[in-house]
Subunit: 341 residues, 2 copies
């Protein structure tokens, strides 16, 4: 399965991006495949997950996760195959959810690895609908958003792996789902997914169209983009609305604060005037309490077809930076994944 | 007790204030004392409560309460005495918590009136520590802030009726309390009230002094002022910090948005990066579930001396506008009240 001449192609952080990442921010190299120590496994990467939070870790601004250092292999969840094992319970050929990053091989300790059953579901779903993005949607919507039957839930980036799960779970819980996405093709997909209203944020007058689509206001806004969508949503929020904040993709490539006036005090004024709840979260906060329920519920919904998902798979490790930048600007169509081997 | 020649002096809204209210915004007049209908009582106002939310109701901007109309008597909670009763259960001489506003007499239906026992506590406490401000502190701190033993709670306007209760209740619950107020005299009072740290927001470098006073960060910030204090608090908030938002006094007289840059996206970024909870609230949301506990707990704490309070009582109805404007800029020292009769 592996010869001693095999090399490990990697993509490392060459420089901290200023704004949108460019090719110069990534360094491709090749090194010898590492050897696992006691309790470790050598993994061959099959799929790399592309996720917005990785852009944050390329910067050195304080955030919820420590930044990468210059020279580090770019981080990311992976679906990988065990090629050599020095750990109990792992055998060559096993497929695992791992955190190998942007490279062909990784050596990992086994504490965080999760065995995947290729018979139960396509293994790529562990990076999307049955993985971190799906769990982000499930935990944020149910633990913070708490949608009630008949309420209205809005979400942007709604064809993405988080947004599409938010809308579909909201509908399963009896709420009305409004999806916002960029472009006619994505809007059409939202309708196929069963969203009650689908809006193109690229078309004119999003605030007016959103108001029209939410005649009874919005009770839960699952925030994963920020920017102009948030500006359109805020006036529609009802008293006691809940806003789980799991991402602000519109800001990730910003290099300076936008021009004034300063609307931060006005935002606090809306929080007060409408008794809003704004709650930032990272899915890991809920992992110990909700992940087993999530896996049970979501596997059932995917199996029954109540939750559908889309994957956008790019071929080849070398394509990863370009696919990543495309994902940041919404060029992907469904969960963005790179197939490495 | 009442003669047919008695007139009712009133203060009405003459114009919506632009910025800080001026004398021209208030109209003093005198009319015949009204007569109670069936189920109503005629009340003589003894004390008027001055509260920041009233400034909001003078404007016609959308908020949590309907605005006053031009010509309306300025609203406000009152402690009043029944002078004529056409309602069961109310007898001349009874002292009640009412909502008579800025006038000498009011006719009110009895559904919202609460009998006060002058033997149990000074009746003015029904406007402060044992009334809406005290309940605002109790409900917001305990239901939203949820301070845990050893955590740090910060509050501004900390000698005011809400802030002083927040700090003292936080300490009763085992938390460390940081109080922020304007001027040396108020800072000295915070120390007497038992606050663990007391900061003057008028002295230079509030951010630096606040950082020094919160070496383990801030877990709960009870927001009632906004502005520069919030700017100093935000960097000190810990992961999972809770921010009950009950007022933004610094903004109430603002006439335009402040100059840029626009920091609203940055604020959302902090909510995300630290998993913050921002939660606006009005005390009435919690009235049905928490008010009886509040009255029991707070009466006990006041009686035992665990919670102290200060009142700033101005004499005479005609002084009300000036005392109100002074309260808005923090000139009062403790709960601001006008004694009418």
């Amino acid at each position: 399965m592996m010869s001693t001449t095999t090399v490990n192609h990697r993509i490392r952080l060459a420089a901290r991006p200023h704004g949108v990442p460019t090719p110069a921010d990534f360094q491709h190299d090749a090194v010898e495949v590492p050897s696992p120590g006691a309790g470790q496994v050598l993994l061959r990467t099959r799929y790399i997950s592309l996720d917005p939070y990785v852009r944050g870790r390329m910067s050195d601004a304080k955030s919820y996760a420590a930044p990468m250092e210059i020279g580090d292999v770019i981080v990311g969840a992976t679906v990988s195959e065990v090629v050599r094992s020095e750990a109990d319970g792992f055998t060559p050929g096993d497929v695992v959810l791992s955190y190998g990053g942007w490279q062909e091989y990784s050596v990992e300790s086994t504490g965080h690895l999760r065995h995947l059953d290729p018979e139960a579901a396509p293994v790529t779903t562990a990076l999307g609908v049955l993985g971190m993005p799906g769990f982000t949607a499930y935990a944020g919507l149910l633990a913070i958003g708490k949608p009630q039957p008949g309420e209205t839930v809005a979400v942007a980036a709604a064809t993405g792996p988080v947004g599409s799960a938010v809308g579909q779970i909201a509908r399963i819980h009896g709420a009305r789902a409004i999806g916002i996405a960029g472009g006619e093709r994505k809007v059409a997909q939202l309708r196929e997914l069963g969203f009650d209203a689908a809006l193109d944020h690229r078309a004119p007058d999003l605030p007016g169209r959103l108001a029209e689509a939410s005649p009874e206001g919005i009770d839960v806004y699952f925030e994963n983009v920020g920017g102009a969508v948030w500006d359109a949503v805020l006036p529609q929020l009802n008293e006691f609305a809940r806003v789980p904040v799991c991402g602000l993709a519109a800001n990730y490539n910003a290099t300076a604060l936008p021009e004034g006036p300063d609307r931060s005090g006005q935002l606090m004024g809306s929080v007060l005037a409408k008794s809003l709840t704004l709650r930032g979260f990272i899915q890991r906060e809920f992992a110990s309490t909700m992940f087993p329920d999530f896996l049970r519920d979501m596997t059932g919904w995917v199996t029954s077809g109540q939750v559908q998902y889309t994957e956008d798979i790019t071929q080849g490790l070398d394509s990863t930076p370009e696919a990543f930048v495309g994902m940041l600007r919404g060029a992907n169509f469904g969960k963005a994944i790179v197939q490495v081997s």
